[in-house]
């Protein structure tokens, strides 16, 4: 055992002097998560903003059937004309699209927290907002503010350049439309029925058809915008009808709902508990990868294997020393990834989110220890497997070639934590890797108390497999056919 410790210390020193190992063990786990987040959130915001700002053409067919309706549609789909006093108020308080996206669908409380974070007096703000939209009840308005402030941006056209006489009765009607949407000439089509004006006058329902293309983002965004516009037009008309009959305003809206989230785990915890297990497993594997290849195949490639084998040390000590270094790298790497993800989420673009929901991602000592206890045996499995593969390989290249398929085999089950709805039960608890991924998910969600039995099963089974694999690696290391392959 003494010699295993000697081997461990030397191999650790050796590996720490290798830039590739340091890169994979320290730099990549620390930086990849924030960089990835920064890029995806930046890119998403960029493209969404571009889409939102872009003025797209919507073809309206049948304007002649209800010119008044189309006029209002035109009015409402032009942000400048829709003349937004609300937008001006928001701008004055420095609330951009990004911040509003955070409170979209949330109630008053979310707004209050957001404003407090910006050091704005909520009372004054609420007053101005309600004034600008002529609302009486802020609670009811809050969830709509984001939508109202940034109306869709359409140019309404009534005919296509190349098919000025297109009508829904034409044989190639849908083909022409499909082509026009595909080539981005228009984003969607609105069909006003012949009897529209009459139906509205008769206090009946006019049925408007919107045609769109599922695979085009411009088209689906246009569909959303159009639906919203027609919904608010419909609401305005309903209120007018009710007033004309002298009925109360609530007549046509007997039920109104508002969803309020309970305090406790929210979006941040959900995201963390989905991504962390995957990250931990992947980085445990990646952290072990390079040291393993270096300490196994590397000895053969650099011709140091025989130097080592003629030393009076048992093969078991050699394996244990090397295994210890690979395991250390795996654990350091996954720990760094965890810390990095936690910090990125707290400090990064989701910080506003955590402020809004008033939650912070933290866990108790019991949870942290249980998580570590779950991570160690699975990291042992990765380390023993990679070391065994690596000592079999004759060169770095060969070692990497063996490791890549293994990586695929591990990524897929690790991904299960991200899939919605997969729960930890006796079935999933008995699938290797999947079980650890789900166990970590439950721990980070705060459900540890309901899963002690599962945790015990997973720990014991993983530890047994890890022990067997380590035993296998030691046996493997004694075989001439492995060490001296021709």
């Amino acid at each position: 055992m003494n010699s295993a410790w000697t081997v461990f210390r030397k191999e650790l020193l050796d590996v720490m002097r290798d830039r590739r190992t340091l890169l994979f063990m320290l730099v990549i786990p620390t930086l990849s998560i924030p960089v990835l987040m920064w890029i995806t959130s930046g890119a998403m915001t960029h493209f969404l903003e571009k889409l939102a700002k872009e003025k797209v053409d919507v073809l309206v067919l049948g304007q002649q059937h209800d010119p008044k309706l189309v006029d209002e549609l035109r009015q409402r789909s032009n942000p400048e004309k829709a003349g937004n006093r609300l937008a001006k108020v928001l701008e004055q308080y420095g609330l951009g699209e990004k911040e509003l996206a955070l409170v979209k669908g949330e109630g008053k409380e979310a707004f209050v927290r957001l404003l407090k974070k910006k050091n704005v007096d909520p009372k004054e703000f609420i007053g101005k907002v309600m004034d600008s939209v002529n609302a009486r009840d802020f609670d009811a308005t809050a969830s709509n503010i984001a939508t109202q402030a940034f109306p869709p941006n359409f140019r309404i056209i009534t005919k296509l350049d190349r098919h000025p006489d297109l009508s829904p009765d034409d044989d190639d009607y849908k083909d022409v439309l499909l082509n026009a949407v595909r080539t981005d000439e228009i984003a969607a089509v609105v069909e006003i029925p012949k009897d529209s004006m009459k139906k509205i006058k008769d206090e009946d329902t006019t049925r408007i058809t919107i045609r769109y293309l599922e695979t085009s983002d411009r088209s689906t965004m246009a569909l959303k915008g159009l639906k919203r516009i027609f919904k608010s037009m419909s609401k305005r008309m309903a209120i007018e009808r009710i007033k004309a009959h002298g009925l109360p305003e609530g007549f046509a809206a007997p039920i109104e709902i508002r969803a309020e989230r309970l305090p406790g785990p929210g979006l941040l915890v959900k995201l963390m508990s989905q991504f962390l297990p995957y990250m931990i497993l992947i980085f445990s594997f990646l952290g072990a990868l390079y040291p393993a290849i270096d300490l196994g195949a590397g000895e053969k490639e650099r011709g140091t294997l025989e130097t080592l084998l003629v030393a009076p040390v048992s093969r078991l000590s050699l394996v244990l020393g090397k295994f210890g270094v690979v395991l250390t790298a795996a654990l350091v790497s996954s720990l760094l990834a965890t810390v990095s993800l936690a910090i990125s989420l707290q400090a990064g673009f989701l910080s506003d989110l955590s402020v809004l929901s008033g939650e912070a991602f933290s866990f108790s000592a019991t949870e942290a220890i249980t998580a570590i206890v779950m991570i160690i045996p699975i990291s042992c499995i990765f380390s023993a497997l990679l070391l065994a593969l690596s000592i079999f390989a004759k060169s770095f290249k060969e070692g990497q070639a063996y490791a890549s398929p293994l990586q695929m085999i591990i990524i897929l089950p690790a991904l299960v934590s991200i899939l919605p709805g997969v729960k930890l039960d006796w079935m999933t608890a008995s699938i290797p890797i999947v079980n650890v991924s789900l166990a970590l998910k439950e721990i980070f969600t705060g459900n540890l108390d309901q899963h002690w039995a599962h945790m015990a099963l997973i720990f014991i089974s993983t530890a047994v497999v890890a022990g067997l694999l380590l035993w296998f690696a030691a046996w493997w290391f004694r075989r001439e056919q492995v060490l001296f392959r021709s």
Binding site: S3, K10, R302, T307
Partner: protein
Amino acid sequence: MGDDPGLGDTGVKAEGLVKIFKDKKRGQVRAVDDVSFEAHPGEVFGLLGINGAGKTTTLRMLSTMLKPTSGDASVCGFSVTRQGTEVRRNIGFMSTATSLYGRLTAREMVVYFGKLNRMHPDKIEKRMKVLFELFDMNEFADTRCDKLSTGMKQKVSIVRTVLHDPQVMIFDEPTAGLDVLTSRTIVDFVRQCRIEKKCVIFSTHIMDEVDKLCDRVGLIHNGKLLACEPIEDLKSYTDSGRVEDAFVKIVEAKS
């Protein structure tokens, strides 16, 4: 073969060593076929043979890296098949395939192998100081091995090999691919070992080297030991008195 009673405790004795490799393309390869010889303390035993003759395989069995298919050998009285760790504690092994760890410095490299040999840290320090002085190595003692010249690397390898003062030294073509001066360091070192009464086994395919260095020679061909005798006897096989001619004659006669 002589049966010197004390030999087993200080020298090397190979008895009927056989090594069969299973090769996918060639089927069974008898790399070493019934090889027996003795090497005594204070003697340089040369293992002479062409490429693929089985030299490396024989020496790997002596140093316990490979297990003999049958037969056994004893090193300082320890069996290579049953007492591997003890055997390895008593040998210094050096070949073209025993490279240094490039990311360790010369000193770290030597200390590591001292520790693996279970030497006391003070003893490692003392012995290292003497050896570094002897080989004039202090200048690059703290340089990483991958930055050293081939000659410097050879010196580090030698120190690594003799640090624990083994009784048996095994060299597998140690001069292959080295220039005249660097080979000279090694040749001088082998001579020094003989003076110190160590038992040296030295494999090569260079006839001149055998002539210069060895006291006794084992001639190996296709895994078989064709002759095993003092260098003088070998040279008297032909009129020319050259090792090379003797080698050709014996190989032609026996195969």
